[in-house]
C-alpha cells in the first residue's frame, strides 16, 4: 500500500470515527463529517444527473428526435421555483411525473399487488395454516376499514387483525435488526483494519478526556 492510499484511508477512517462519536454525544466532529458526506453526495448526484440529461435528453435531440426538446424544457421548468412569481411553472413537469407514476402504478398494480395476492390467499381450508392465513388477511384488511364505526363484530375482527399485524411488525423488526447490524459489522471491520486501527486509541483517548473534563465541571 503506497503513501497516498494510506493517507486516503486514514482520512476516511478519521471521518468514520467522527460519525461514530455521535454515539457518545453530538459534537462538531460529527457535524463536520456529516457536511462532508452531504456535500459529496450532492455533488456526485448533480454530475450524474447532468450526464443523464446529456445522454437521455440532448443526444436524442442531436440525432433528429426533435420532440426531446419538450423534455429539456420540462426539466428546466423545475428550476422555476427560484423565479419569483413564476414558481407555479414547477407544477407542470411535476404533473407529468405524477401522472406517469400514477398511470404505471395503477395499470399493473391491480394484478401484481391485489389480484395475485387474493388468489394466493384463497387456499383450500384443509390445514390450520391455510385457515390462519385467510383469517389473518381478512381481519387485517378489515382493521384498515376506517369508514365504518368499530363496534360489535367489526371491533372483534379488527382486534384479531391487529394481533396478526403486531406479529408481522415484530418479525419485521427482527429482520431490520439483522439488516442494520450488517452495516455496523462492515464499519467496525473497516475501523479495525490497517491503517485505521491506529486512530482508534486516539479516539478513545479523546472520549476519556471529554468524560474527565465534563465530570470536573459538574
Amino acid at each position: 500500500m503506497n503513501l497516498s492510499e494510506t493517507l486516503v484511508l486514514l482520512i476516511a477512517g478519521a471521518l468514520v470515527l467522527m460519525v461514530l462519536s455521535f454515539l457518545y454525544r453530538q459534537s462538531r466532529w460529527f457535524t463536520f463529517a456529516e457536511h462532508v458526506v452531504v456535500g459529496g453526495l450532492a455533488g456526485q448526484g448533480t454530475a450524474i444527473g447532468l450526464r443523464n440529461v446529456y445522454y437521455q435528453g440532448i443526444v436524442p435531440l442531436t440525432t433528429g428526435q426533435w420532440w426531446y426538446i419538450l423534455a429539456i424544457i420540462g426539466g428546466l421548468l423545475l428550476f422555476a421555483k427560484y423565479a419569483r412569481g413564476q414558481s407555479w411553472l414547477v407544477r407542470l413537469p411535476t404533473a407529468l411525473l405524477v401522472g406517469c407514476g400514477i398511470g404505471l402504478n395503477m395499470r399493473a398494480g391491480i394484478e401484481t399487488q391485489i389480484t395475485a395476492q387474493l388468489i394466493d390467499t384463497l387456499r383450500p381450508l384443509t390445514s390450520i395454516n391455510n385457515i390462519l392465513i385467510i383469517i389473518g388477511v381478512c381481519s387485517g384488511m378489515l382493521y384498515f376499514f376506517f369508514s365504518a364505526e368499530e363496534k360489535g363484530a367489526m371491533k372483534s375482527i379488527g382486534k384479531i387483525g391487529r394481533y396478526f399485524l403486531m406479529v408481522a411488525f415484530g418479525s419485521s423488526f427482527a429482520y431490520a435488526v439483522l439488516g442494520r447490524t450488517s452495516l455496523v459489522i462492515s464499519r467496525v471491520t473497516d475501523v479495525l483494519s490497517y491503517p485505521t486501527y491506529y486512530l482508534v486509541p486516539i479516539a478513545i483517548a479523546i472520549i476519556i478526556y471529554d468524560i474527565y473534563t465534563s465530570r470536573k465541571t459538574t
Partner: protein, 281 residues
C-alpha cells in the same frame, strides 16, 4: 444496582455492548454453523435454471448506505453467474452509486478468472434516472432507451446488447433491493407484461413485507440481508465476507435479546414495587 434502576439505563452502555459484541468475532472468529433455508435454495435454483446462453439482468438497486448488507450478496450471486454460460447485463435504477457498486464487485471477482469478456459476456449500463418510467421503457424497448454503457461506450459496439431488445429476452431478473418498491416495480412492469422470473435479495427491513410475493410465487425466493448472502455463499460453495460477518450477528442478536429481557424484568420489578407502595398506603 437494582432491576428497577435499570429502567433508566444510559443508552450508551447498550451502544458499548453492541460494539463489543460486533468486535469480538472480528478479532477472534467463532466459526458457528449456518443452516441453509429453503428460501435460499429456491434463489440458488432459480439462477441454476437459467439455460445455457441465457440472459440475466442484474440490478444493484442499492447505494453505499447499504453496502455492508448487499455488496457481499451481489458479489456471491455475480460470481455464481460467471461460472455459468450466461450473459449478464447490469443496470442501475435506484441511485447514482449502483453502477459503482457493480464495478466494485466486478473488480473484486475478476471477469478473466472465469474466462469472461466485458462487452461480450457482461456489461454495466450505468444508472438511468426515472424509476418506474425508466424501468418500463427499459423493458419495452431497451435499445431506444440505452445509448451508452457506464464507461461511455456506445452500445452498438457491445455485442452482448444485440440479444437484449426488450424484457421478453430476459431469462431472469435479479434485483438486490434497498427500497421496498423495487421488486414490485419489476413484477409490475416486466413480469406482468413479459412473464419473466424475478428473484434476488434485499435489506432486512423490507424482507418481511416481500414474503407475500414469495408465497404467491411471483418472486422466486428472496435473500434477506447478510444472512441470506451467507447462506448463498454456503450453498454455492464460495465462502466470503458474509459468512465471516455472521458470528458478529450472533453476538449482537444476543445483546438485543438480553436488552429486551432485562427491560421487561425491570418493568416488572418497578410495577411490583409500585403495587407494594400502594398497598401500604
Amino acid at each position: 444496582m437494582s432491576l428497577k434502576s435499570l429502567e433508566k439505563l444510559d443508552p450508551r452502555w447498550i451502544f458499548l455492548a453492541f460494539l463489543i459484541a460486533v468486535s469480538i468475532p472480528i478479532i477472534q472468529p467463532l466459526g458457528l454453523p449456518i443452516k441453509i433455508s429453503d428460501n435460499t435454495r429456491r434463489v440458488y435454483q432459480a439462477v441454476e435454471d437459467v439455460p445455457d446462453g441465457g440472459l440475466v439482468v442484474l440490478t444493484p438497486d442499492f447505494s453505499y448506505d447499504n453496502r455492508g448488507e448487499l455488496l457481499p450478496m451481489l458479489e456471491t450471486i455475480f460470481e455464481h453467474l460467471l461460472t455459468k454460460d450466461v450473459k449478464v447485463v447490469s443496470v442501475g435504477f435506484y441511485g447514482a452509486a449502483s453502477p459503482m457498486l457493480m464495478e466494485e464487485a466486478m473488480k473484486a471477482i475478476g471477469l478473466e478468472r472465469y474466462g469472461k469478456e466485458y462487452g461480450v459476456d457482461f456489461v454495466n449500463l450505468g444508472f438511468i434516472a426515472g424509476d418506474e418510467p425508466a424501468i418500463t421503457s427499459f423493458g419495452e424497448d431497451t435499445q431506444a432507451l440505452v445509448k451508452v454503457d457506464y464507461y461511455g461506450t456506445p452500445i452498438s459496439q457491445l455485442s452482448i446488447m444485440d440479444s437484449l431488445n426488450n424484457a421478453g429476452d430476459i431469462d431472469l431478473e435479479i434485483s438486490l433491493s434497498a427500497g421496498m418498491n423495487y421488486p414490485e416495480l419489476y413484477l409490475r412492469q416486466w413480469q406482468t407484461t413479459f412473464g419473466i422470473k424475478v428473484t434476488g435479495g434485499c435489506v432486512g427491513l423490507i424482507y418481511a413485507p416481500l414474503l407475500p410475493y414469495m408465497e404467491s410465487g411471483q418472486l422466486e425466493g428472496y435473500l434477506p440481508s447478510l444472512r441470506g448472502a451467507a447462506e448463498y455463499e454456503l450453498v454455492s460453495n464460495r465462502p466470503g465476507a458474509a459468512i465471516i460477518g455472521m458470528d458478529s450477528q450472533s453476538l449482537v442478536h444476543i445483546v438485543v435479546i438480553v436488552a429486551i429481557i432485562i427491560s421487561n424484568l425491570s418493568m416488572l420489578a418497578g410495577s411490583k414495587e409500585k403495587e407494594a407502595e400502594e398497598a401500604t398506603i
